[in-house]
C-alpha cells in the first residue's frame, strides 16, 4: 500500500516529463486516429468540393503564432483542397504582422507541397505548377478591421491596391473579374467562399459587417476555445459551417483524403487527455486510500 501514498504526491516535474513524452512521441510515429466527421465540417468541405472549378476561396488569417498549431493545419488543408479542385486562393489578415507571418507560412507550405505533387505526377490534370498571382494571391494586411471589410464589399482595390510583393492587383490574372467580395456569389449561386480563420473575435466582425451586407457564402475555422461563441452564426444561417479547433482541422484533413499535422496532433491530444485522466484517477486513488488508513 506504500506506493499508493506516492501516487498522491507525484512531483510536478515528473508530470511535466510525462506530458512531454505523450505529446512528442506521437509525432515520431506519425500515426493518426480516424476522427468522427461532424456536420459543421462536412458542410464546408462539400461546399468547396462542389464549387465550379476556378472559383475563388478568400481566406482571412486572423491568428498569431500562439494559435498556429491549431489553425495552421486548417489553412493548409483548405488550400490544398482548393488547389486540387482548381480554385484560386486569396489570403488576407487583420492581425497585423503576426497574422501575415502565420498566413504566409501556411499558404506557402501548401503551395510547395502541391507543386511537388504536380512534379511527381499526382495531379495529371495540371501541366504547370502553381504560380503566385495566377493561382493564389496574398493581399497582406491593412489596418482598419471593420472599415477594410466594408471597403472590400464595394471594391477590393480600395483596401488592397497591391499584393504583399508590391505588385498592382490589376495586373494579376487571378484578380481579373474580381472586383469586390460580392463576386463570391450567394449561397444559392456560389462563385466562391470566404473562410475566416479566427483565434479571437474578428470573425464576429466579418459576419456582422462583412457577410451581413454582402450576403456571400462564408465559413469559419477557429480555436477550440472560441468556437462555441461562433455557433450562433451557424444557427442563424449566416455561415455554412465551422472548423472547431484541432479536431475540426483533423476532420477536414480526413475528408480531403490526407493525414497532416492536425491528424498527427490529434493522437498527441488524445494521449495527453487520457494521460490526464489516468493521472487524476491515480491521484484520487492514493488520496482516497490514504485518507481511510
Amino acid at each position: 500500500m506504500r506506493f499508493l501514498y506516492i501516487l498522491t504526491t507525484i512531483d510536478r516535474r515528473i508530470i511535466y516529463a510525462l506530458v512531454f513524452l505523450a505529446t512528442a512521441l506521437p509525432f515520431l510515429f506519425k500515426k493518426s486516429p480516424d476522427v468522427q466527421i461532424t456536420p459543421e465540417v462536412e458542410r464546408v468541405y462539400r461546399f468547396i468540393d462542389r464549387l465550379p472549378a476556378g472559383s475563388r476561396i478568400v481566406i482571412s488569417a486572423d491568428y498569431g503564432p500562439s494559435s498556429m498549431p491549431e489553425i495552421q493545419p486548417m489553412l493548409y488543408a483548405i488550400c490544398k483542397h482548393a488547389f486540387t479542385k482548381g480554385h484560386k486562393v486569396y489570403l488576407l489578415t487583420h492581425w497585423t504582422y503576426q497574422g501575415l507571418i502565420a498566413g504566409q507560412d501556411g499558404i506557402m507550405s501548401a503551395v510547395r507541397d502541391f507543386n511537388r505533387e504536380i512534379k511527381e505526377g499526382k495531379h495529371p490534370e495540371r501541366t504547370d505548377t502553381l504560380i503566385e498571382g495566377v493561382d493564389y494571391v496574398s493581399w497582406g494586411f491593412r489596418p482598419g478591421g471593420m472599415a477594410v471589410m466594408l471597403l472590400m464589399n464595394s471594391d477590393i482595390r480600395m483596401a488592397f491596391s497591391r499584393d504583399v510583393r508590391g505588385i498592382l492587383l490589376d495586373s494579376l490574372p487571378a484578380m481579373q473579374g474580381f472586383r469586390n467580395l460580392r463576386d463570391l456569389g450567394t449561397v444559392e449561386n456560389p462563385k466562391g467562399i470566404l473562410i475566416g480563420l479566427e483565434a479571437g473575435f474578428t470573425g464576429d466582425v466579418w459576419v456582422v459587417y462583412g457577410q451581413a451586407q454582402g450576403r456571400w457564402p462564408m465559413a469559419l475555422g477557429s480555436t477550440a476555445v472560441v468556437t462555441p461563441s461562433y455557433y450562433t452564426y451557424l444557427e442563424a444561417g449566416q455561415i455554412i459551417g465551422i472548423l472547431g479547433g484541432l479536431k475540426g482541422a483533423a476532420e477536414y484533413e480526413q475528408l480531403a483524403g490526407f493525414k497532416g499535422q492536425a491528424s498527427i496532433g490529434m493522437l498527441s491530444q488524445s494521449i495527453v487527455h487520457i494521460l490526464v485522466v489516468v493521472l487524476i484517477f491515480l491521484g484520487n486513488l492514493g488520496f482516497f486510500l490514504a485518507r481511510r488508513k
Binding site: 458542410r43 500562439s66 464595394s154 444559392e188 459587417y209 444561417g237
Partner: protein, 546 residues
Amino acid sequence: MEGFFAILILNQAPELVPPQNLMVGVRSDGYWILWEPSPTDSLITRYEVFRDGQFIGRAGIGKYEFVDKGVSGPHTYFVRAVGGSRYLKEVEIWGMRLPLLFWKEEGYAETKPITIAPLPGFTASYEWQGFGFGGYRLEWGFRPQGFVEVLRKGAVIVTLPPGTQSYTDPSATLGQADYTVRDVNSGMEIKPNIRARWFAVHFRGVKVSWNQVDQGFTLMRSSETREQDMKTVDRTPPEPIAQIKPGESTFTDRGASGEIAALLRSRSPMSTYRYYLVSEDGSRVFFSEPVRPQPFNFMKLPVLIFDILFACVFFGFLFAAKQGKRMFIRKIAGLEELDNAVGRSTEMGRPIVYVPGIGTIADIETIASLTILKHVAKKAAEYETVVIMPNFDPMVTAAAKEVIKEAYTEAGRPDLYNEDNVFYVASQQFAFAGAVSGLIVREKPGATFLIGYYAAESLVIAEAGYSVGAIQVAGTASVLQTPFFLAACDYVLIGEEEYAASAYLSHNALQMATLKAEDVFKATFVSFIVLFSLLVSLGVSFIFLS
C-alpha cells in the same frame, strides 16, 4: 495581308448595340448614372453621358457608371456608346474564313433617355412593432445530402446549402404553418418541427408610401453607409425589390430589415436608404426622401426599460440604507481572506504581488481590480509589507501608482511608498505572462493577488505562484478562466464577487445596499426562468428575441 483588306473595306461603321438597363440613382454627392455593358462591349472605346441633351462626361473602357456631381431636381439622361475605329472581323469570302481588319470612323449607339425626378409624397419610414410575432423557426432532424428546399403551402420559398438543419421564415403569417422540407438529392420530404418566435420589440422593415400611381412600376432601393471615420462610404446601387401593380400606394420592405437591424446593432449606423419607382419601360424614375436613422433606436428599448428599472431598485435600496435600514450580505470567502493573506506574507517576511490582469483601463474589471488593490495596499502599508505590481497596460500603471500612493497615505505611511515597485512590463499577452511568472519565482512572494481581466495566461501565472507556495487569491469575471484559477489558487472570486468586492470591503451600509439591488433582480430572473421552463414543459413553445 491585314492592311490590304483593310484598305479595301474602308468606311464601314461597326454595328453597335446600345448599353443595357440604364438606371439613375441618387447619392449624397449627386446623381449616379449606371448601365450594363453593351453586348458589343469589345468594340466600344468609351461611353458618353448626356444630361438634358448636353454632353457632360465620359466613362472609359471597363467603367459602367458615372457620377453627375452636385445636381438635383428633374433631369433627363442618356448614354451613348462610341465604337472603335479599328477592329477585326471574320468574313467568309469564296468559302474561306478570313480575319479582316476594318478601318473605320466611329460608330454610335444611344440608349433611350431616362428621366429622373423627386416625387412629392414619396416617403419611407421605419415600422416598429411592439411585442409581436416574428416568424416561424423550422428545425429538422435529418442531415440532407444535397441542397434543401423549404416549401410553404407547396411553393418553394428558399433553397439552403447541403446539410442545413434549421431555417427561420421571417415573412410568415401567424397561424399559417404549413411547411415541408425537401432534400433535392433524394427527393425526400419531411415535416419540420415548427416553433413561433416572439419579439419584445420587432423591427418590421421600412414602410414606403407614395401617391397612387396609374401604371405598373418596379420598386428599387439603394443604400449609402458611412463609417465611424466619416470618410469610408459603402454604396449599393439601386436594386429591384418588388413589382408594384397599378393602384397600389404602399409597400413594406421587409428585406431591408436584416440589413438595417445589423446597422442599428452597430454603434453608429450612419446609413441612408432611398427608394425608387421605375416605370416598366425604364424611361421614368422617381425617387423618395432618404430614410435616415431615427433619433431613438427602438431595438434597444428593452435594454433602456431594464436599465431604468434596475436604477430605480438601486436607488430605492440606497435611500432605504440612508434611512438606517440594515441589510444582510452573505460572506464571501475570497474577500475575507484578503487580509489574512497579507498578514501571512508579513509573518513570512516576503513581499506580496498584485497582478491586475491584461485588461485596459476601459475594462470595468480593471476598475474593480483597482478598488480591491486600494484595500490590499492599505493593509500592506499597515503591516509594512512591500507590494510589487507588474502591469500590462501603461494607463493602468499610471492609475495604479496613484491608487497605491493614496492607500499608503490613508494608512499614514506615505514614507513606505516606493514608485519603483509599480511598473509597466509588456502589452503582449505571453510576454507579460512570462515576465510575471519569472518575477514570482525570483521574489518568492508570500501572497499573490490575481484579480482583473484574464485570458489564456491565467494558469501560467497561477502555477508560478503555486510553485513558490504563495497564498493565492484570484478573481476574474471571465467564465473561461475561473476553472484554471480554481485548480491552482486558494481562494477565487467567481463572477460578480469581484465587482461586489469594494462595496463588501468598505463595510459601508450605503454601498452594501446596492448589492441588494442585484439580488432582487437575480431573484426576478430566476423566477422568470422557472416560469417559462414550466410553460415550455407544458407545451407552450416559443422563442423570445429582442
